[in-house]
Structure formats: structure tokens, C-alpha cells
């Protein structure tokens, strides 16, 4: 860890005034401090934002609002979340460990950095960490890496479970900067790596994630997050599916499907949704739709199994949620 300046902000304007290039905002610290110890992140200045009033979980006509500094544990346990949006609660509870969930903030969860072993090891090249240095994962150890949205510069998987659930639900993030506030669809907030994998999202220097809004979706009460991994706890997804079903009389009136563990960003699947909408909730329908998920997949040497796994994960999630009559 390199020496750095530390300041604690008491208000959003104060935090924004202290932000900018070379500054990192500290919330739960579960990503930032870890990466600072590894010298993957070397901010000159750390601004602690834990005292900012960015808390609270509430619902109104616009939907569910979650303050960016709410802790994962608290959001997962909130009754508005558990009953209205089980997919969010489940995604949170299948993330990390209780200790980490007690510390980690919702805003920080959405901004967490990738788990690629090359990104985390400063003795190896990494385009995300050192633009232009190369990507050893393309030809190296890539069992956990992405099959969707990859480029020759970066194949790292987006690590957040929560983001997959939120993208499925069309959530928006509120970004507050010195010149004002803007709301962005979370699906648009995340950038594909392309030639600039160091740019992971549309957050401008000095901007803060202040709030997340999930639009009202009454039928999200029938939603679930299915996470598949080698270990049953405390591991990132090999594949995951966030699914919500509006099911009436055995017919899928509407549906949301997003997948994780396979994309360079949380991956909404509109073609899969289109293939399900209006159809009977039956195994062959699920399977035909899920096959569309991987049409654009670009498997690497060690993660080819993910094309099969993610399809099966979608089918299993739909089967659990909708039955297979």
C-alpha cells in the first residue's frame, strides 16, 4: 500500500469538492482497501464518504429507491426488497460473505472491480490496470472469464451479482457531480471493454453514485436469482441468472432475464425475453429461448463450458420460477 492522504467528507458537496483524478471515494472499503494493499489501486487521496446522508430504502410511484451507502446486508433484509423484489435480496445474499455484506455499500457493489487474477497481480500485464500492457487472460488462465462482450483487450467478467438483478429490473443510477445530477440506466452505465478496458463505466471524475432506483414492477414478486459456482458460498458466479416472470394461466405475459458470470458487464437478454413472451411456460420453450443467450458467445480455451452452463442456468431458473407444466 502506498501512502495516501485521507479526508472524511461530511456532505455531498464537500465530497464532490474533494473528488477528481487521483482521488478515490471510500465507502465499505471491501474493494478499495483490498486493491490498495495489492497496489492495484494507488490513489493519492482517499475521501471517506460514509458520513454522507445517502441512506434509506423507500418506495413510491416511481419504484424502489436505495441510498448508495446502504449496506448489502440491510438492503437484503429490507421488507420492501424481500417481498417486492426477491431477485435483489437473493442476489445480495448469494454475494461474498456476511462480514463483507455488513461492510459493503450498494454503490460500491456496483462499482466493484473485476476479479481477474491478472488484474489483481501487479507482476503481470493488464490492459485495465496499465492500458496497453496486454491481456494475459486471453491466452492464459481464463476458466472464470467472460464469453459475452469480450474484446482482445479484456475478457474479465463483471463480478457483481446485484448488478445482474438490477439490470434485469431496468434500474437507474443517480450520479451526482459538481455541475448537477443525472440518472442513467444501469444497463447503459456499464461500458464494454473494447479498446479501453480501463473505462468500466460512465462515471465522470468527481461524480458519486448517490441513489439507485428500481422502477415499479408489480410482478417482480415472482423473481429469483440463481447463482451457479463450484463452491456453495463465498465465491463469484460461473454463471447466474436473474429472472422475473409475469405468468398467468401458464402463459408468460412478460419476463425479464439477465445473466452474470459470463459477460464483461451484467448481461440483459432481450432476445431471450422476446422468445419467451406470450409463450407457454414449458421446458422446450425455456430451452429454445435460452439457446439464444449464447449466440454471440466467444468462448476462450478454458471457459467453453459456460455456453452450456449459462443456457442451463436460465432454464433452471425459469423452471424453478414458472414450473414446467
Amino acid at each position: 500500500m502506498r501512502p495516501f492522504e485521507y479526508a472524511s467528507a461530511q456532505s455531498v458537496p464537500q465530497a464532490l469538492a474533494g473528488g477528481g483524478t487521483g482521488t478515490a471515494y471510500l465507502a465499505g472499503g471491501t474493494t478499495l482497501v483490498d486493491l490498495m494493499k495489492l497496489e492495484v489501486m494507488t490513489p493519492q487521496r482517499v475521501v471517506d464518504i460514509n458520513r454522507l446522508p445517502l441512506r434509506g430504502v423507500s418506495a413510491d410511484r416511481d419504484g424502489l429507491h436505495i441510498g448508495a451507502l446502504e449496506r448489502m446486508t440491510d438492503v437484503a433484509g429490507h421488507p420492501l426488497v424481500g417481498t417486492g423484489y426477491p431477485v435483489i435480496a437473493q442476489a445480495l445474499l448469494r454475494s461474498a460473505s456476511p462480514q463483507l455484506r455488513n461492510m459493503a455499500s450498494i454503490g460500491g457493489n456496483l462499482l466493484q472491480r473485476v476479479r481477474c487474477g491478472y488484474f489483481r497481480d501487479t507482476s503481470t500485464p493488464c490492459n485495465k490496470r496499465q492500458p496497453g500492457s496486454g491481456c494475459p487472460a486471453v491466452d492464459g488462465e481464463n476458466r472464470g472469464h467472460a464469453i459475452l462482450g469480450t474484446s482482445d483487450s479484456c475478457v474479465a467478467t463483471h463480478p457483481s451479482d446485484l448488478a445482474v438483478a438490477l439490470v434485469a429490473l431496468d434500474a437507474r443510477v443517480r450520479l451526482t457531480g459538481r455541475t448537477g445530477t443525472r440518472d442513467v440506466r444501469l444497463a447503459d452505465f456499464y461500458l464494454l471493454p473494447g479498446d479501453t478496458p480501463e473505462r468500466e463505466h460512465d462515471l465522470r471524475p468527481g461524480e458519486l453514485v448517490t441513489r439507485i432506483t428500481v422502477p415499479a414492477l408489480p410482478w417482480a414478486t415472482r423473481s429469483a436469482y440463481l447463482k451457479i459456482r463450484d463452491r456453495q458460498s463465498y465465491e463469484f458466479a460461473l454463471a447466474s441468472a436473474a429472472v422475473a416472470l409475469d405468468l398467468r394461466g401458464g402463459v408468460i405475459r412478460d419476463v425479464r432475464v439477465a445473466v452474470g458470470g459470463v459477460g464483461t458487464r451484467p448481461w440483459r437478454l432481450p432476445t431471450v425475453e422476446d422468445a419467451l413472451r406470450g409463450k407457454a411456460a414449458r421446458p422446450e420453450v425455456y430451452e429454445a429461448a435460452a439457446a439464444l443467450a449464447v449466440e454471440a458467445a466467444r468462448p476462450l480455451a478454458h471457459n467453453g463450458f459456460k455456453t452450456t452452463l449459462v443456457r442451463r442456468t436460465i432454464v433452471r431458473a425459469l423452471t424453478n420460477l414458472g414450473g414446467s407444466r
Binding site: E141, D230, Y234
Partner: protein, 738 residues
């Protein structure tokens, strides 16, 4: 006083210390003026370091010294896999032998300063091509020469049979399988840690070690001092599993730096560093061919092994010689061990070295044979149960493997197993059951114990052995209490200090079997000393009574017309305490029998029919380990060992990058170990048949036994559940996706 141990079930006597954080592990020792050392590791797999730039590190705040091959700490002699873990000493030359080798030590005022300065050290390498791929190295595998007292290629053939292949060809039924598993890491909860503190010419080394005495010898030789000048203190060890036997680079460098700097130095390896600095288990490929008659009688066993080895020295996984060598009766046996020498970190002993991998291959092959014969896997094993050690014609001292199978099958409900693979479906899960044998040799070493009566009414029982979380603190107290007829609460155990009564330490699952008999011997000697004091000291109420008329009874000395409690006696004669050292060692009985612990595992597995992930539902393990001293800590040993096997079966494996030799998953986020959610209910049962031909306690070792066979039992259950035979560990979902 001597004789079989009575099984008790008591809490750890050191439990409170551990759960309150008061137990001092090596890095917890309070030492003044500590300097903190941090290792610098190589980032290439093979080559020579041309130069190292340490200027920035030396200027970094708080740095006391930066040591490299070019500004070195002198260490003497050479390396040795049995003492320092490899065949070289750190920083004594500029050679890089593998990725992650120690090439420098930074010492600073704080840990963080040392770590930050270490990140500033730059090495300029002349890189040479490295051989790091195990698979690529197999065609060039070599014969390691004799080991374990037998040749690497060992063959017994029936009269008139010319070769093992001829015996296989003549068999009514044969199966052949090739089994592979990656290298593995010990992953003890306590990382390797040490504090080196010179007090005058005397080195006190606090180090998490399985053997204080071996560490003394290694340190003295490398530092060029007498063994009497080294004291190694290691009262608590947070898991060892075999890689805390050798003394790796960090204590050698810490002690040498402390001597040079004139202040104590602590070095704690980071979790990532433990993956390359402190040993591992070989990657292993095995081919097993079994020939049998239709009725299941084995007639030929051929077991070929290729194990990875480090060009920088180490040991290798000897899979066939530790399993197929004696596990089943067969007229024709052929074992062949080869090594694949690579530019990788050195393998060292790791829990059940040999048996862990060997049992996966052999016990899976047995299951394949049972499937082929349409014979119950338990029945197949019972039919081939060996009663004499093959080729030596000595019987086992005590072998109850058949009972393990009978009892285990009953406890588990094996009769409910559907022999048809893939036939049992529960919801979205395919369900299967599997079984396998566990074996581990009964090891026993000479050991000494001191027993001392104290005027405060306690008795101390001490020995320079180690407790790796195994329960030795408690075993010493239990056996001391039994030998002296006192409650456990009055016995104070002490261990983990090289100045205590001589003891080689804790490995080979031999600590209890070795140390236990010495407790009885020491208790007897201490009682004799107590009686001598009582009848010879003029201040004693028993002065002048013939020693033969005094007997010891539950803390009291009993003479014909009086009795006195030992604390009263000690106070009466103003004694600080009286005691004696007793020694026990294996005798000539050790040529007349074979000594082995056995066990049987049964497990139920479910495999998701959509996504393929294997999950354990329950495990029953029945253990034939001789007499059990403390059932509670013994059960913990077996549970821990079974979990170790779950890791082997489903999760663990080093990923070595073929281009760089770097371990791609050398950290606890990526090297997966089982978490609680992966561990099902584990039912452990001890047969508890004392093995009195082995030692007077009747206790053999159990520390490693429980892990042997677990991976095969799980893999066999996966086959029963799905019809898929996975011969390459770990059994991950990608291998089960159709």
C-alpha cells in the same frame, strides 16, 4: 499404570486460550524492538538474476535493511528437502529455480513499511526456458530410485506368470483407468510465521512448526552454531498438514537478519507467498489396471504413477507404494513410480502423502471393476481383504477393515443404494452413493516425556512434541491423569518447546502413538522418584519406611499405617517438585507385524440435472485406528480429514501457467477450499479396538487416515448418481455438463 488407554470425551484443555485469542501462535509472541521482514519473490520461473535495484526500497520510510543475493545474509551448508524443504539455501546464489522463489528480504520498522518497500525492489533476470507443464513432462519421466525401502518398480508374480500384462490378459475381467489430479496446497489457517530473537549468542526462534527438534538442527547448521544455542518455541500451531516439518526460507533469513541487525525480526508469509515458499503436493497421473475372476477375486493389480517433482529438490507423491502395495490380496502385483522433474516450487509432505492420491486411483478402479462385475462395491472389497502383508508374509497386528465396512454400511443405509447409475432422481437432483477404503500406516517414533509432581497439587506432563490443532495438549493431560489416577484438571500439559523432554514432533500421524506410551513410562519413573524422596528425606512423614512398602494411589503415597498426599509431602520436605523423564520406543515387535489403520467411507452425492454441480448430502466414516484416547478431538481429526478430502474431490487444484510457471490461483479467492456450506453432516464412528501389539496404549494414528479414500468415495457416488466416471480431480460442474 500402563496398559490400554480408557477412551474419554473431553474438551480441549487449550480450548479457552484459543477461542479467547490468548493462545500465542508464533507471530503473536510479544518481543520488544521487533523488525518486520517481508520476502521478495521471483517473478520468472527459471534464470539468473543479473542485478537487483534496491535503491528505492532502501530509501523507503522505516527500512532497516534490504537483503538480496548481492547483499546477502550468510547461511552455511547446503539445502536439503528434509531440512529446509529444497536443495538450496535462500539468497546464497542468484539462481531462480521457480516462479515465486524467495530472492530478497526487506526488514523495516513496521510490517506495512516492509511490504511497501518490497514492492519497490526490481530484479533484472536473464531468463532461461522453464519446464513447468506436468503433462508435457510425462514422456520424460524418470525413475526416482528406491524409496520406502523398496524399488520404485516393484513386482510380485504368481508362479509361472512372466509379466503383469500376461496376468492381466489372462484375467476373466479387466478394467483400466487413468486418473489425474493437480498439485495442491496445504492451506493451513495459520500462515507460516516466525520471530527470531537473539539473546546473547542464543537464538530463540518462535516458529509454527511440527517439529521443534528438527528445526533446531536445521537452524543451527545453517547459522553455523551449536544446537545447544538454539531454542525453538512453538506452543500452538494453526494447522500443519506436513509443510511445517521442513524449515523454509523465512526462519533462516529472519534469524540471519536478526543476528546482523542486532534486533529481533519477525517474518509472516502472506497467504499468496505460502503457495510458493512453503511446499505443496505433487501433481499426479496414475494408471491402474485390475484383473479379476468373475466372482470378484483380484488376480492382477498394476499401478503406474507419475508424480511432479521440483528440480530444486523436494519429495514426491508415492501413490502406489502406499496403497496398492498392500491394500488388497492379489497373486500378481506391479507398482511403478516415476517422477516428472519441473521448474516448479518444491513438493513436500502433505497429509497422507501418497495415500491421498493413490487411494483416489485404486478405489475408483475398484468401483469400476464392481460396476463391470455387477457386484456390490463393498462385497468386492470384502472378497479381496488382505490378511497378511503381501510379500512379507507378516500378519497385521490388528485389522478390522471388514468390520468397518459392515458397521458403516449399516449406519449409512448402504442397502438403499440403487446399483443402477443415474436411476435415482429427487427433484432437480440426481442422487448417488459411493464408498471407498481408507488406509494409513501406524507410525511410531521414540519419545520422551517428563512428569513432575508440584507442591501446588498439580502435575505437569511435558514433552517437546507439537499440537497442530490435533489435540495433543489434551491427550497429554488425559494420559497423565489416567497414569496418575488424578482428575484432568490437576494435570498441566506443556509442549512445543525444544528444551522440553526430547520428542521428534507431530507427523506421520504418530504423535499420540509415540508420546502416549512415554507418558506412562514417565509417570512410573516420577512415582518412583516421589517414593524415594518420601522415604529418604528426614522431614518426610514416611522417612525410613522401606520403599517397597510404599505405594502410590491417586495422588497419595500409601504406607502400611499412613498415607500422605503428594503436595503435603512436597511442602513438608520443602521441595520445588519432583519428577522424572520416561522414554518409550518401538521394540522388536515391529518386525513381526504390519501396522496399519483402516477405515471405510460412505457418502451420498447429488448432482444437479440442469447445471451439473456436485453437492454432498451426507458422509459416514468408520475408523479402525486402535484405541481412541479422546473421542472428541479424535472426531474433530476425522471430520477435518474428511473435509480435506472434500477439497481434493470437488474444489482444490493449483493452476500452473504453462508459459510462466506462475500459480494462477495462488490465493484464497481463487484456490477454492471447502466452506461450511460445502460440508454435509459427517457421521464418524470409531471401532476402538486396542492394538496392543503396536504399543501399550493400543492407539495407532488417525490424523491423516480420514482423508484417504474420500475423493474416491465421492467420485464413485457421482458415478452412481449420473453414470459418468470422472477420472480427473477436482470433480467440477464443467466435467458433469452433458
Amino acid at each position: 499404570m500402563s496398559g490400554t488407554a480408557r477412551t474419554v470425551s473431553v474438551n480441549r484443555v487449550d480450548g479457552r486460550l484459543k477461542v479467547t485469542g490468548a493462545a500465542r501462535y508464533a507471530a503473536d509472541q510479544p518481543v520488544e524492538r521487533l523488525g518486520y521482514g517481508y520476502l521478495v519473490l521471483s517473478t520468472v520461473a527459471r534464470g539468473t538474476i543479473r542485478a537487483m535495484d534496491v535503491a528505492a526500497a532502501e530509501r523507503s520510510p522505516g527500512v532497516l535493511a534490504v537483503y538480496t543475493p548481492f547483499q546477502s545474509l550468510a547461511l552455511r551448508g547446503g539445502g536439503n528437502p528434509f531440512s529446509v524443504g529444497h536443495s538450496w539455501l535462500p539468497l546464497q546464489d542468484a539462481e531462480v529455480r521457480y516462479h515465486g522463489q524467495a530472492i530478497g528480504l526487506v526488514v523495516a520498522e513496521t510490517f506495512e513499511q516492509a511490504r511497501d518497500a518490497a514492492a519497490l525492489v526490481r530484479a533484472d533476470y536473464e531468463v532461461r526456458p522453464a519446464a513447468v507443464s506436468f503433462t508435457d513432462g510425462i514422456p520424460g519421466a524418470t525413475d526416482p530410485g528406491p524409496f520406502m525401502g523398496e524399488p520404485a518398480r516393484l513386482e510380485f508374480l504368481a508362479d509361472g506368470v512372466d509379466s503383469i500384462d500376461e496376468a492381466l490378459a489372462a484375467s476373466e475381467v479387466t478394467v483400466t483407468g487413468t486418473y489425474q489430479q493437480p498439485g495442491k496446497h496445504h492451506s493451513a489457517m495459520e500462515p507460516h510465521a516466525c520471530v527470531a530473537d537473539w539473546q546473547g549468542g542464543q537464538l530463540v526462534l518462535y516458529s509454527g512448526t511440527q517439529s521443534t527438534s528438527l528445526t533446531v538442527g536445521t537452524m543451527a547448521a545453517a547459522l553455523g552454531i551449536e544446537a545447544a544455542q538454539v531454542r525453538v518455541v512453538s506452543p500452538h500451531v494453526g494447522g500443519g498438514f506436513g509443510n511445517k516439518i521442513a524449515t523454509w526460507a523465512h526462519p533462516l533469513l529472519a534469524a540471519a537478519a536478526a543476528r546482523t541487525l542486532g534486533r529481533p525480526v519477525k517474518v509472516v508469509l502472506t497467504r499468496e507467498q505460502t503457495f510458493t515458499v512453503s511446499g505443496n503436493r505433487s501433481a499426479v497421473r496414475q494408471t491402474v489396471s485390475l484383473g479379476a475372476r468373475r466372482d470378484g477375486t483380484l488376480v492382477a493389480v498394476k499401478h503406474q504413477v507419475w508424480s511432479s517433482q521440483s528440480a530444486s529438490g523436494g519429495i514426491f507423491e508415492s501413490s502406489a507404494h502406499t496403497t496398492s502395495r498392500y491394500l488388497y490380496k492379489t497373486e500378481n502385483l506391479h507398482l511403478d513410480q516415476k517422477i516428472v522433474t519441473l521448474d516448479v516450487p518444491p513438493p513436500t509432505w502433505m497429509r497422507a502423502p501418497g495415500q491421498e492420491s493413490g487411494s483416489f486411483a485404486l478405489e475408483t478402479a475398484l468401483d469400476e471393476l464392481a460396476t463391470e462385475l455387477r457386484l456390490d462395491p463393498v462385497e468386492l472389497r470384502l472378497r479381496n481383504n488382505a490378511t497378511v502383508y503381501p510379500g512379507r508374509n507378516v500378519p497385521w497386528s490388528s485389522k478390522h477393515l471388514a468390520e468397518c465396512y459392515r458397521v458403516g454400511a449399516q449406519r449409512f443405509g448402504w442397502d438403499r443404494r440403487n446399483p443402477v447409475p443415474g436411476a435415482v432422481v429427487r427433484g432437480e437432483w440426481l442422487v448417488g452413493m459411493g464408498t471407498a477404503t481408507a488406509n494409513y500406516p501406524g507410525e511410531r517414533f521414540p519419545a520422551s516425556v517428563q512428569v513432575r509432581f508440584q507442591p501446588d497439587g498439580d502435575v505437569s506432563v511435558s514433552s517437546a512434541t507439537a499440537d497442530l490443532g490435533t489435540g495433543m495438549w489434551t491427550v497429554l493431560a488425559v494420559l497423565g491423569a489416567q497414569a496418575l489416577g488424578l482428575p484432568i484438571s490437576r494435570v498441566r500439559s506443556d509442549l512445543g518447546d525444544s528444551t522440553l523432554a526430547a520428542n521428534i514432533g507431530a507427523f506421520g500421524s504418530g504423535a499420540t502413538a509415540s508420546t502416549g506410551p512415554a507418558v506412562a513410562a514417565a509417570a512410573q519413573a516420577a512415582i518412583t522418584a516421589l517414593i524415594t524422596l518420601a522415604v529418604t528425606d528426614e522431614r518426610s512423614p514416611l522417612h525410613g519406611v522401606p520403599a517397597a512398602d510404599v505405594r502410590y494411589d491417586q495422588g497419595q503415597l500409601v504406607a502400611p499405617d499412613q498415607r500422605i498426599a503428594f503436595p503435603d509431602l512436597l511442602r513438608a520436605v520443602d521441595s520445588p517438585g519432583v519428577g522424572a523423564t520416561g522414554t518409550a520406543a518401538p521394540g522388536p515387535e515391529h518386525g513381526q507385524h504390519a501396522f496399519t489403520s483402516f477405515g471405510a467411507h460412505f457418502c451420498e452425492v447429488r448432482v444437479n440435472r440442469f447445471t451439473g454441480e456436485p453437492r454432498l448430502s451426507r458422509i459416514t466414516t468408520v475408523i479402525d485406528g486402535g484405541a481412541i484416547i479422546n473421542a472428541k478431538t479424535a472426531r474433530s481429526q476425522i471430520v477435518g480429514a474428511v473435509i480435506f478430502g472434500i477439497g481434493q474431490a470437488l474444489l482444490e487444484g493449483a493452476v500452473v501457467e504453462p508459459e510462466t510457471g506462475r500459480i494462477a490461483n495462488g490465493n484464497f479467492a481463487d484456490y477454492l477450499l471447502p466452506v461450511n456450506a460445502d460440508v454435509p453432516a459427517i457421521d464418524v464412528h470409531f471401532l476402538n479396538h486396542p492394538d496392543l501389539l503396536f504399543n501399550p496404549l493400543g492407539a495407532r494414528g488417525i490424523g491423516e487416515l480420514g482423508t484417504v479414500g474420500v475423493a474416491a468415495a465421492i467420485g464413485n457416488a457421482v458415478h452412481n448418481a449420473t453414470g459418468r466416471r470422472i477420472r480427473e480431480l477436482p470433480i467440477t460442474l464443467d466435467k458433469l455438463l452433458a
